[in-house]
Symmetry: C2
Subunit: 311 residues, 2 copies
């Protein structure tokens, strides 16, 4: 029986582990399946983080996560490199079923984050990983994208970041956005839109993709003129937001209409006593590494106080 | 006229500055009077931080704060090394009066933190800085405390930390606590109470201090037996909690009964539109460097979105 199980190993989960293990609670962190690309969270596919306080020269995502994991391990966190398939929160101890084990836990901290959304185009599945990707940073440097025309769909900071990253490899980057103006911060817009390799197509959506074995182009619809146009691109990268990773929780805990875990105000307490949530799985507003880390600390302190209270 | 003024330069204020300056908002940070010991916040008197995620080998408080300040400066934050004396939040632009200037600001982020509390003993003022201190880490290494018997008052993590720090210099450290058990985390209790230099006096309060020119001892009252006892100590260190630094805000903004700034749930918005609060000045529950930094980021993002909304 575990005193506390932490599900997820991004900045929220690992900060919770650092605090829990310093409090001698020996947490078990089910970090996700490493080769599946889940362990470590979204920062594992982030090249450079400039805004995590304490790193004035920036730090790469994987390096920051490795440092946090080392820190959690040093104080006594145990890691299990599996995914969680289901949980039973109907009574305590809670049951957590991972790929190969069934674990009992007195308390639970959920920090499974969120995942990039897809457009679900008619031919999307055919060209998935054959030109279509949800992660420019993961795939943009692959040989078949080099010196090609690539497209990014989206209007926020992530879209700008991905477009900027792709300019290192691509001949041209086309940023496609359904609205007239971008949600991205001014700093990012200034940096990216002034890059001569970046071209912008506004008020437009991707209707479908085409090609033979590999992606060759897009059908784009202008939402104002309703005109459909074909453009040649070799890569299409999605940067259209995220969905929380809560499928394994359905019916067990209170989620909002988008699937995010609901927590009490200024707290990480969920609808189930003894279960706490932190990071992007409960946050659709701030979604930063540093806010996730802060909420991971909150979850650990609330969990520790809860365990003290119930004995 | 400033777009945004940040008051305070601890982890909350500096993280806000990092995010604001990356968003090209050119924040002015009124960091406090450096020689007065205010700039940089409470971490400036913290020797070693083990639980700030990203630093597996630990980092000193001043080093961490220097790194955050460098990061904020790099992206375009301007610093003013003065204290804020008063503010006028009755209408926008807000007015901020520092030691030598009167500044107008469209928006304001308040991150002035909290300050260690005093016992207010009858002879406290006479022996202040002559044996009594509110900061073991600042003063414990001074020559007249070396190889002496020293006392710490308090029952939380800070009391444990201060007692542990003093064992490096003192002959003996007496931890005085008014209750029967300590609030401090088990990790800290285990570490400190097993130190052979540490002696514990529970269920007791300090009634007064005595000495000639310099502190020579304490009058201690046992709350169970009501007996008063004199003990010889050369130093008395307070570790009995904090009060928020909000005196300059009275009547201008909604504070709670203890003086902490009230914010909306899961937000840094205060009772005054365009004024945001982050860090220990609005948090009496978590009070960690990482939670302060997270809330500083929240304040910056909310401030940026507010400025976009009002134009």
């Amino acid at each position: 029986m575990e005193k506390v199980v932490v599900i997820g190993s991004g900045p929220a989960g690992l900060t919770a582990c650092i605090y829990l293990s310093r409090a001698l609670l020996s947490p078990l962190c089910i970090e996700g399946f490493i080769s599946g690309g889940v362990a470590g969270g979204q920062l594992m596919t982030t090249i450079e983080i400039e805004n995590f306080p304490g790193f004035p020269d920036g730090i790469s995502g994987p390096e920051l996560m490795m440092r946090m994991k080392t820190q959690a391990e040093k104080f006594g966190t145990t890691f299990l490199s599996e995914d969680v398939e289901s949980v039973d929160l109907s009574k305590r101890p809670f049951k957590v079923k991972s790929t190969s084990k069934e674990i009992e836990a007195e308390t639970l901290i959920i920090s499974t984050g969120a995942t990039a959304k897809r457009l679900h185009l008619p031919s999307e599945q055919k060209f998935w990983n054959k030109g279509i990707s949800a992660c420019a940073v993961c795939d943009g440097g692959l040989p078949f994208f080099r010196n090609q025309i690539l497209a990014v769909v989206g209007g926020g900071d992530s879209a700008m970041e991905e477009a900027h990253y792709l300019t290192h490899f691509a001949k041209e980057v086309i940023l496609i956005h359904r609205r007239d103006s971008f949600r991205a911060s001014k700093a990012m817009q200034k940096k990216v839109l002034s890059n001569p390799k970046v071209k912008v197509i506004k008020n437009s959506v991707v209707e479908d993709v085409f090609g033979e074995d590999f992606l060759e182009g897009l059908k784009i619809k202008n939402l104002k003129s309703e005109k459909i146009e074909e453009i040649k691109v070799r890569g299409l990268f999605y940067a259209i937001g995220h969905a929380p990773n809560t499928a394994f929780l359905k019916g067990q805990i209170k989620l909002d209409e988008e699937g995010y875990i609901q927590t009490k105000p200024d707290s990480t307490r969920t609808s189930v006593e003894g279960v706490f949530a932190c990071g992007d799985v409960k946050d659709k507003y701030y979604k930063q590494a540093i806010t996730a880390a802060g909420s991971g600390c909150m979850a650990a302190l609330e969990c520790e106080r809860y365990l003290t209270k119930v004995g």
